[in-house]
Symmetry: C2
Subunit: 337 residues, 2 copies
DNA sequence: CTGAAAGCGCTAACAC
DNA sequence: GTGTTAGCGCTTTCAG
């Protein structure tokens, strides 16, 4: 029924080993026999069975990727980086949407390990001890992309979120603002919820601006949350004049919430986002934002993983990529008015 | 080093076969022995090797998914539907980004087949004879999601794009418009480029509205293309009063292009999009659009695939899901002014 | 209800 | 250069 390496061998009048050699590009084959084998392969329509190969060689050229939400523009962009590099190195990807649920994540990791992936790229928001426990049962390398884990045991690639939050706030301060609000992620999220927020605090502190608890809203970084936050801030007695939202989607929600209340951005209130997803250029005013090199984070993470899988030396298992601020129309920082 | 089924068998004092049975949930095992085996598994930290299982059983519980661009909101949403149903049926997904390139697609299909996936869900824009050739070498079922192939041999799930294009245009006509332009996809794309466009033509024709060649622009359905199209249409002597864009992103580009030229939407010009991606609610005015049940298309496609993989009967291999029009703020169809 | 044994299709020494 | 021969770790008859 299905044609195997053995059929090819017989057809070509050689041994399985020889067929295996030509299939795998082993140079130790006389050109004439190679030709014969190739002809037999063509004739029979032979397709190597990667599962059998995987069992025999103990390598599957497949890596597992855990993603919290494939329809999130941010993670999808990371995934693109991962996929590009993976395919460059001839790896395939088993993509698993974890829905950010711990139980599912743990189960997925186990499944991936059973499937004998050669390595795993993990994306998530928070890493608990339960995560670490499963990670530790892994016999293959794992690298975190856009995700952090406090002990810094696991290799990871990120930007400096603290610094990024600081930078964003500084720009607002330099724009002359004193009443600066923030919509930050859930506090369980060490990056979007904590570090960016800590950067914000530090910036205020350094500039002797009082920190006001009612200027901070911690929520899931959705569009709706942004709209709600805008309403909430605008109901304060002393309303903020600038808002730092820890994600672009949220920032856009903030802007629309503001606009719906008749406020103009940036004339009345300035808004800055985070990530630089494509959406940020597809709204009016275009969103000023902290740009995170999403594609690169994914790409570098995957590249790092290939090094581990090939037992190459890696000089630094924690890589921090640069970020920058892209000023568009939702802030007026560059205008001198 | 790694613990195998054999180790568990010895530890539990039973045969491999018995261990296999408990691992696979075979009921023909005495509770006591099951308990013993489970204990041994726990003790040894045994993790079944899915590759070996796949080789022996000829099933990998893995399906391949080809996606043109993982960072496209439309396809990502389909992928979510696919993934959800796949995980519901205990399948894992090998996700391959084809970048819409024929050569890569063909190569990816082959790789997936080598990896012994149990089935394939294919998403793409166009299906050529080269595609069909590879598809035909497959010994596992393939279903198309959001993609069509003229011969209708392959199972697929879609909406009726012709009807959808027709409906969108009719709404514009009913809104009182006579000068209706369209930004359609590339003509190689049978759905976004051809069918939607044909629907548009038919609607005009039925209402005795002259078809004008300079009211149609066929381009990649990007945001930029939308902006460019808006400029182009507005440079015409007789400018359109309504524009149907064959994707939401393009529609938003059109709107912004219009706004940048000082036009108001919908007061001066009405715009309707296609797909109903999340973006359509995250812009102002909110975009009226033809809603395509993206998640469902993916989900149904995957469900269909499971049927084929289990040799279940399927009554109809071509499934057409319903679409509808969601009126938001970029059209005034419902207003009576 | 349980065990023995024959593969699944391929790779990887090891000979020649 | 090429062939032989063990496995890789598991499922699956087939007995009993």
């Amino acid at each position: 029924m299905t044609v195997t390496i053995y059929d090819v061998a017989r057809e070509a009048g050689v041994s399985m080993a020889t067929v295996s050699r030509v299939v795998n590009g082993n140079p130790n084959v006389k050109p004439t026999t190679r030709k014969k084998v190739l002809a037999a392969i063509e004739l029979l329509g032979y397709r190597p069975n990667a599962v059998a190969r995987g069992l025999a060689s103990k390598r599957t050229t497949t890596v597992g990727v855990i993603i919290p939400d494939i329809s999130s523009a941010f993670f999808a962009e990371l995934a693109r980086g991962i996929d590009d590099i993976a395919s460059m190195y001839k790896y395939n990807i088993i993509l698993c949407d974890s829905d950010s649920r711990l139980d599912k994540e743990v189960q997925l990791i186990n499944t991936l390990l059973e499937k004998q992936v050669d390595g795993i790229v993990y994306m998530g928001r928070e890493i608990t001890e339960d995560h670490m426990r499963v990670f530790n049962t892994s016999n293959v390398p794992i690298v975190l992309a856009g995700t952090k884990e406090k002990s810094s045991e696991l290799p990871s690639v990120n930007i400096d979120h603290f610094q990024a939050g600081y930078d964003a706030t500084i720009r607002l301060i330099e724009g002359g603002h004193k009443r600066i609000a923030i919509v930050t992620g859930p506090f369980q999220d060490p990056l979007a919820g904590v570090e960016r927020f800590e950067g914000y605090r530090k910036a205020l502190e350094e500039h002797n601006i009082d920190f006001r608890q009612n200027y901070v809203i911690s929520d899931k970084l959705t569009y709706r949350a942004g709209m709600a936050a805008a309403k909430s801030f605008m109901s304060l007695e002393e309303t903020p004049t600038a808002i730092f939202a820890a994600s672009d989607e949220t920032a856009v929600g903030v802007i629309h919430g503001l606009q719906d209340m008749g406020k103009r951005v940036p004339q009345d209130i300035e808004v800055i986002g985070f990530d630089n997803i494509r959406l940020s250029e597809m709204v009016r005013p275009k969103l000023s934002t902290v740009v995170q090199p999403m594609y690169d984070i994914g790409a570098v993470a995957m590249r790092l993983l290939t090094k581990y899988m090939n037992n190459e030396d890696v000089d630094d298992h924690i890589v921090v990529l640069p970020h920058r601020i892209e000023e568009r129309q939702s802030t007026t920082l560059l205008r001198d008015e």
